[in-house]
């Protein structure tokens, strides 16, 4: 029977939200393939997270406990997982698509001769095996892919693709996973907060968010005017921040802040999944984009196709008029 392994990410004795999503995904995948899912947890003294995982309907919770696993490094993680996968031969290994997982999963695939399906958002049975769906072109398109050849399949599941509370509860025995000689390949020096959190967008009622389409720091003035007339906070998608057009504390998305305003303007934002996860709690979404096929229109209530440099000033004017 093809076994399914689920690699769990945890921190300070708790499962990462996306680890719970990965459990739900792994259980679904096991149902399709007819196997049983087991969870794998790497750490040192991570008993609390293991206990949390054991409350799911799983074959086993396998815990790899080793001093070198106390802090994550790809060297120690791949060193622990590669021989275990070779020995146990799971058909599928499911992991959350987190910054930690994406760091080591490709190396694990390379080390074990596995196939790698990054950022899966869905899977379904197809001819000759599972068919996976994943975003390409920054989410503007989706690809359906299948896996050929022999050996395990490693997949990471995108945030929000499977519900964190969708995992089936149960009672799983906790067992230990033997770890051979492993070593960290990074000398950890510390962690730092990025740029501080001077701006808290999480409680904003109205957000005007801009994307790459705005075209430059010198073109922000009309955006700021729109925000002002709306009494809104200005946010941005990642490319705007990376280009230095706005400070990093304005970033909305998987590596930035999460917002849930009643009104959200997405201006020149195509709608990559990394941005959508940061604003999916928004009430009414207005999208302004020159590309009518931009994925942002799929999640918006109102769509305006055209040149944002014309639409934004017109909108500011219309709101001013309406407010008298």
């Amino acid at each position: 029977m093809p076994a399914v392994w689920i690699i769990l990410q945890h921190r300070e004795g708790q499962l990462h939200r996306m680890a719970r999503e990965a459990i739900a995904a792994g259980q679904q995948l096991a149902e399709i393939t007819g196997g049983r899912p087991s969870a794998v947890l790497l750490g040192h003294g991570a008993g609390d997270a293991a206990t949390e995982a054991a409350a799911y309907d799983l074959e086993r919770v396998l815990v790899a406990d080793h001093p070198a696993l106390e802090r994550y490094t790809p060297g120690a993680y791949v060193g622990a997982l590669a021989p275990a996968i070779a020995a146990a031969g799971p058909a599928y290994v499911v992991a959350p698509h987190t910054y930690q997982t994406v760091d080591f999963l490709p190396r694990l695939a390379q080390a074990t001769g596995a196939a790698l399906v990054p950022e899966a958002i869905a899977f379904e049975p197809g001819d000759g095996g599972l068919v996976f769906r994943r975003p390409i072109m920054e989410g503007k398109l989706q690809a359906r892919v299948k896996v050929k050849g022999e050996g395990p399949v490693l997949l990471s599941v995108q945030s929000g693709a499977f519900p964190a509370d969708g995992g089936r509860a149960g009672e799983a025995p906790v067992a230990s996973l033997e770890v051979g000689e492993i070593a960290a390949d990074r000398e950890i020096l510390g962690v730092e907060q990025v740029g501080g959190d001077q701006v808290d967008l999480s409680k904003a009622e109205v957000v005007v968010a801009v994307g790459r389409g705005v075209g430059g720091a010198d073109k922000m003035k009309p955006i700021e005017e729109l925000a002002e007339v709306l009494g809104a906070d200005v946010g941005a998608s990642r490319p705007v921040i990376d280009n230095g057009w706005l400070p990093r504390d304005r970033q909305i998305g998987s590596s930035g802040q999460t917002v849930a305003p009643r009104l959200y303007f997405a201006i020149g934002i195509s709608g990559a999944i990394q941005h959508l996860v940061g604003m999916k709690g928004a009430g009414c979404v207005v999208a302004i984009n020159k590309d009518p096929s931009a994925p942002i229109f799929g999640v918006a209530r109102y769509g305006l196709v055209g040149d944002l440099h014309e639409i934004v000033p017109a909108l500011t004017e219309a709101i001013r008029e309406a407010k008298g």
């Binding site: 490094t73 790809p74 060297g75 987190t98 910054y99 994406v102 760091d103 080591f104 999963l105 490709p106 190396r107 695939a109 390379q110 196939a115 790698l116 399906v117 990054p118 072109m137 920054e138 398109l141 989706q142 690809a143 359906r144 892919v145 299948k146 050929k148 390949d185 990074r186 950890i188 510390g190 962690v191 907060q193 990025v194 109205v206 790459r212 389409g213 490319p239 990376d242 230095g244 998987s254 590596s255 009104l263 195509s270 207005v286 096929s293 994925p295 229109f297 799929g298 209530r301 109102y302 769509g303 305006l304 055209g306 639409i311 017109a314 909108l315 219309a318 709101i319 008029e321 309406a322």
Partner: protein
């Protein structure tokens, strides 16, 4: 230091996309191509380090003939030579197959460091650099937001992005593969002098055999992923699209936000 930079040429993220007739990829005719965004930052990082250490940058890319433009641009920016894996056998691979070929190309270059972007803006596997590191047996780091080569050039201080606004800082032994995140620096523009000089810089085009690779290990044949279809996603109910010129759309929107959605 001698640094290899792996770049990928991808469709301009601003370009309008169409699905190719066979449904397996986008229509490339009339599609503008550019150097992948995070690879551009990797190139800048490499050029800066090479300048400081009196070193050189070798730029490496896998892709069809059009990729020559991206390599010329990298040469114009300051790379001293290029390696282009252009043969058909190299093409159409997943991250594992592409990483294997790139690692083989880099192995012969005697470099001290490999830099590349964290993720391509087209297929977005976010994996190729790490696979290269696996083949070379070197440490790697993905999503790097800060890189400092330490004295002696045998180690690097790396700042890596984690979730929830935190960075992790660690030391890596060199040689290593560093996959940088967009935003790590400010990429330069090519000068006219650079563009002229680039015309005389060499682009090497090794065959799979030159790199000791079998055709079955690389490209589509050496991949375990097979694309069945690419398509625009179902947009669910999708947005109500407003009609008219900018002023008309603006007035309609304000009315709808007030009366329909009642959020204004």
């Amino acid at each position: 230091m001698r640094i290899a930079v792996c770049i990928k040429q991808v469709p301009d993220t601003e370009a309008r996309l169409r699905v190719r007739k066979d449904g397996l990829w986008v229509e490339e005719e009339d599609l503008p191509f550019v150097i992948n965004e995070s690879d551009n930052y990797a190139l800048e990082e490499a050029l800066t380090i090479a300048e400081k250490t009196a070193g050189e940058v070798v730029v490496v890319s896998l892709g069809p003939e059009r990729v020559k433009d991206a390599l010329r641009k990298a040469l114009a920016l300051g790379a001293s030579r290029a390696v282009h894996l252009a043969e058909e056998a190299f093409q159409g691979g997943d991250a594992l197959a592409t990483g294997r070929a790139l690692a083989a190309a880099i192995a012969g270059q005697e470099v001290d460091l490999v830099l590349t972007g964290s993720q391509s803006d087209d297929v977005g596997y976010g994996a190729t650099g790490s696979v290269i590191a696996g083949h070379l047996g070197w440490p790697h780091a993905w999503l790097v937001m800060g890189l400092e080569i330490e004295e002696g050039g045998t180690s690097a201080r790396v700042t890596r992005e984690m979730e929830s606004g935190m960075n992790e800082i660690f030391r890596l032994q060199l040689p290593a593969v560093i996959e940088v995140q967009a935003g790590i620096n400010h990429p330069r523009y090519a000068s006219l002098k650079g563009i002229m000089a680039a015309k005389r810089k060499p682009i090497e085009r090794p065959s799979p055999a030159d790199l000791g690779l079998e055709a079955s290990q690389i490209g589509a044949a050496g991949s375990r992923l097979e694309v069945l279809e690419v398509a625009f996603p179902d947009s669910g109910e999708g947005a109500e699209m407003l009609e008219g010129d900018a002023a008309t759309m603006a007035r309609t929107l304000v009315e709808k936000l007030q009366r329909e959605a009642r959020v204004l």
